[in-house]
Amino acid sequence: MSSPEILVMTIGGAGLAIGLAGIGASIGQRMAASASTMLMAERPERFGLSLILTVLVETSAIYGLLVSIIVLVGLGGVSSSDQAMGALSAGLCVGVAGFCTGVGEGVAASASVGAVAEREAIFGKSLVLTVLPETGAIYGLLIAVLILRASGFLGTPPTHAEGAGIASLYASLVVSTTSVTSYLQGRVGASAISSASKREEVFGRNLIFVVLLESVSIYGLLISILILSYTGLL
């Protein structure tokens, strides 16, 4: 039986993964769903499109759920503090990234619902701008999965690299902090959607403004991967 500290860290990781990601997704979905319910009063025939936009926001919670399940299923095999720290880091990473993405996507999705209310033809472009902030959650999930793999949660033997736990934590912190850009991307995306719904031809240029913010999260991902690689976790 693992020590209480190890259990606390491992289960804490599982909790953080679904808890933080779920809160973010809920906040985002609330925004999108509220806009959709208002749309139903004017345009009930746009139900399908607004449902797609609302459901999309939930994906970051699903990423959190997955990491949570992986951690809990592998709980029995956790025997070292490095493995427990790995679980905590993975949960933190996907949780914070999922939170920022959920809220950002929710802002963009509610703007998309508003645009679709005016003009159905703008759905495709709005969808693209709504999905862009998801990059943060994807990076968070990726780093979480790589950490869990190195910590022995995915059927692979745990690494015995020195300082594996601390390395996992720092790799996770890098991606977590840079994932704030996902929320900001959502805000810019919402403006881009409103602008494109008035003048469709500016969609491409608006897209560039939205993705400018992503450079920081890309740098964060790269540094996280390098941390994992140079500390023997990858």
Partner: protein
């Protein structure tokens, strides 16, 4: 082979073809006698080859001889007729609201009606007569009975026959509706004041409730007063209806269908004819006019100039004057028509979603199509998933793809993405999250993530370099030597230097290292000279662009591990007695379909983003003037191949 002949600010000598550029255009000017104008325009609409220019912008070039034509007043008449047609189509049940699945997968119900231009013209001349007849018929036989139909539908549960809804010597029957909130009150009032009257309420509709009121004839007047005071509206049951409500409903439905069949062809043909006519009359206002002639100016693709000239001459009895010349206008005014082969044509709409290429700009569609399918395939690489996506695309092609060109193109893109995903899934050994262990032929993305990471970075470098090469080509063809040398070539040299440093690892100041430094310094000098000090900041943006391709690996692994996790959950559930295996199968099926659906949206958006930002940013500005030819909008009809052939309008 191509020949450099175009200048930066204007386009000359359009006879020379440049590879990868949009289709070359010719300027066509025509002078027609007034009696032939509409016929020529109608023929040009069917040919889709003539991009009409508003003559008001061009009057100086015509020495101000023709004058502009004001908008035609009869356009309003035709628009009103179109509104009446649409209303009739709705009343006859031809306009149905479809759910999203129906919109995607339900095939077109009827093939388009083949018509002739002469037949359409004849029907347009009789439009008022046809519309009046149809409206009268619909009013008498459908609209009048619409409320009766709703009433009969509502009272079905009361189990009253239609014959029993008529008054007799011993029983007074009233049928109609009252406000829903008054129903209970009326029932109580009838019971308290007139004990022998009964009210039976049926289903409600829009705050009114359908009711049947029975009473003895002796108290009819009192009942009428109570009903009138409570907003009762009578619904008279036609004498020809009898038997149970279902039988009467069936009679009414048969009547509606008979009338719908009678007018279906005429209304559909009239709908398309009016749309086309309205567009043609609006186009007339772009022409110029003298006392006896009309002048028109526009653009025609070089390959269709002969056809356009022949059409104009044939429909004006050879009396037209047609002048063809190469474009000598500013680039921004020459329209752009993309002309890719059948395999790549569906991707043109994705290119144009970003922006229309300018006339003197490379058409990125061939490269876009190939890399877009590759990237989406890499991000969602899975043999089973790819086959499902391809199947979904095939069903879409049969459904929505049979109704509109846009959906047809989207379906073909989905099919190609599915095939790509399946092939790459087979090559990387991915099948439903490892449920079926397949050997990986090139690389296993799950087992060797770093190897995959390096591979996508190399792919990113190739993509970016391709963008720079296309930029260099565009500048070379347009003889923009400055941007060519100090922009595209400088960046390519810098990337070559960076690549050489990485590959050779030589950072010393001798041998290969010296060459590397030479390349780097040369490129930096060129950048500073051409683009200024701000260009140095673009170096970090270039690095960021290349690193951005890491998302291919991230999205691929995220999907793969999501599928594996659900497979792990399913395997845990499968162990349970009796229900374990079926539950596990259901979980796996639903979760896999969910992953595929979400993955499609995500991979589509990110593949698009990689092209729009990292690729297009190197060479593509867009802002072109899209080629929009005179065209006929046909929803229900198609013009017969031979004039005089096809079905005749009835």
């Amino acid at each position: 082979m191509f020949i450099f002949s175009m200048q930066v600010d204007s386009v000359k000598s359009c006879q020379w073809m440049a590879i990868l550029f949009p289709e070359r255009m010719s300027k066509v000017r025509a002078i027609l006698f007034e009696g032939y104008v509409e016929e020529v325009l109608a023929a040009l609409q069917e040919s889709n080859c003539f991009h009409l220019v508003d003559i008001k912008e061009r009057l100086p070039r015509w020495n101000e001889i023709p004058h502009a034509i004001p908008p035609r007043e009869d356009v309003g008449t035709y628009r009103r007729q179109l509104q009446r047609v649409n209303r009739l189509l709705e009343d006859l049940g031809f306009v149905k609201t479809m759910g999203i699945l129906e919109q995607l997968f339900k095939p077109r119900e009827r093939p388009p009606i083949e018509v002739t231009l002469e037949g359409e013209k004849e029907l347009l001349a009789r439009a008022e007569q046809v519309l009046a007849e149809a409206e009268d018929d619909v009013e008498q036989n459908i609209l009048r009975y619409r409320l009766v139909r709703e009433f009969l539908l509502a009272i079905q549960r009361l189990k009253i026959g239609v014959n029993e809804l008529r008054s007799s010597a011993s029983l007074s029957v009233r049928t109609g509706s009252i406000p829903s909130d008054a129903a209970e009150e009326v029932e109580m009032e009838l019971a308290s004041k007139i004990g022998s009257a009964s009210l039976y309420a049926a289903a409600a509709k829009e705050r009114r409730r359908f009711v049947v009121v029975l009473s003895y004839p002796g108290v009819s007047e009192q009942v009428d007063v109570i009903l009138k005071n409570n907003g009762f509206q009578e619904i008279a049951i036609p004498p020809q209806l009898s038997g149970p409500p279902t039988k009467s409903l069936s009679t009414l439905d048969l009547r509606s269908k008979k009338i719908a069949r009678k007018y279906q062809s005429s209304l559909h043909i009239l709908h398309d004819a009016l749309l086309t006519k309205t567009a043609r009359l609006e186009a007339l206002s772009k022409l110029g006019r003298t006392e006896r002639t009309y002048v028109m100016e526009g653009w025609v693709p070089l390959s269709m100039v002969e056809d356009a000239t022949r059409i104009i001459q044939r429909h004006s009895d050879g009396l037209a004057t047609v002048l063809v010349s190469p474009p000598d206008d500013p680039v921004a005014q020459v329209p752009t028509k993309l002309h890719n082969n059948r395999a790549l044509r569906p991707f043109e709409m994705l290119t144009e979603m970003y922006g229309t290429p300018a006339y003197n700009e490379v058409d990125p569609t061939p490269f876009f199509g190939a890399f877009f399918v590759l990237f989406m395939g890499l991000m969602s690489a899975d043999l089973a998933g790819g086959m499902i996506i391809a199947l979904g695309g095939a069903l879409m092609l049969r459904g929505a793809g049979s109704r509109t060109t846009r959906m047809r193109q989207l379906s073909l893109i989905v099919i190609s993405v599915g095939v790509s995903s399946a092939v790459l899934g087979a090559l990387t050994g991915e099948f439903m999250g490892g449920i079926l262990p397949l050997p990986s032929i090139i690389i296993s993305t799950v087992e060797d993530p770093i190897g995959f990471l390096l591979a996508v970075l190399v792919l990113g470098v190739i993509h970016v370099v391709l963008g720079l090469i296309l930029g260099a080509y565009t500048h070379a063809v347009n003889r923009d030597l400055r941007n060519l040398v100090t922009g595209d070539l400088a960046w390519l040299l810098l990337m070559a230097a960076g690549g050489m440093f990485l590959i050779t690892g030589d950072v010393g100041f001798s041998g290969q290292g010296l060459v590397n430094y030479g390349l780097a310094i040369t490129s930096l000098i060129l950048l500073l000279l051409g683009q200024g000090p701000a260009s140095l900041l673009d170096i970090t943006r270039l690095i960021s662009n290349i690193i951005s391709y890491v998302r291919i690996m991230a999205i691929n692994l995220a999907s793969a591990w999501m599928t594996r996790t659900f497979a792990l959950l399913a395997s845990l559930i499968a162990g349970a007695a009796i229900v374990g295996l079926p539950l596990a199968a259901i979980l796996m099926l639903f979760s896999y379909m969910f992953i595929i659906t979400i993955s499609l949206f995500v991979t589509f958006a990110h593949s698009l983003r990689l092209h729009y930002v990292e690729f297009f940013g190197k060479f593509f500005k867009g802002g072109g003037n899209r080629f929009s030819p005179l065209t006929s909008t046909r929803e229900y009809t198609t013009v017969a191949a031979k004039t005089g052939g096809g079905s005749v309008v009835t």
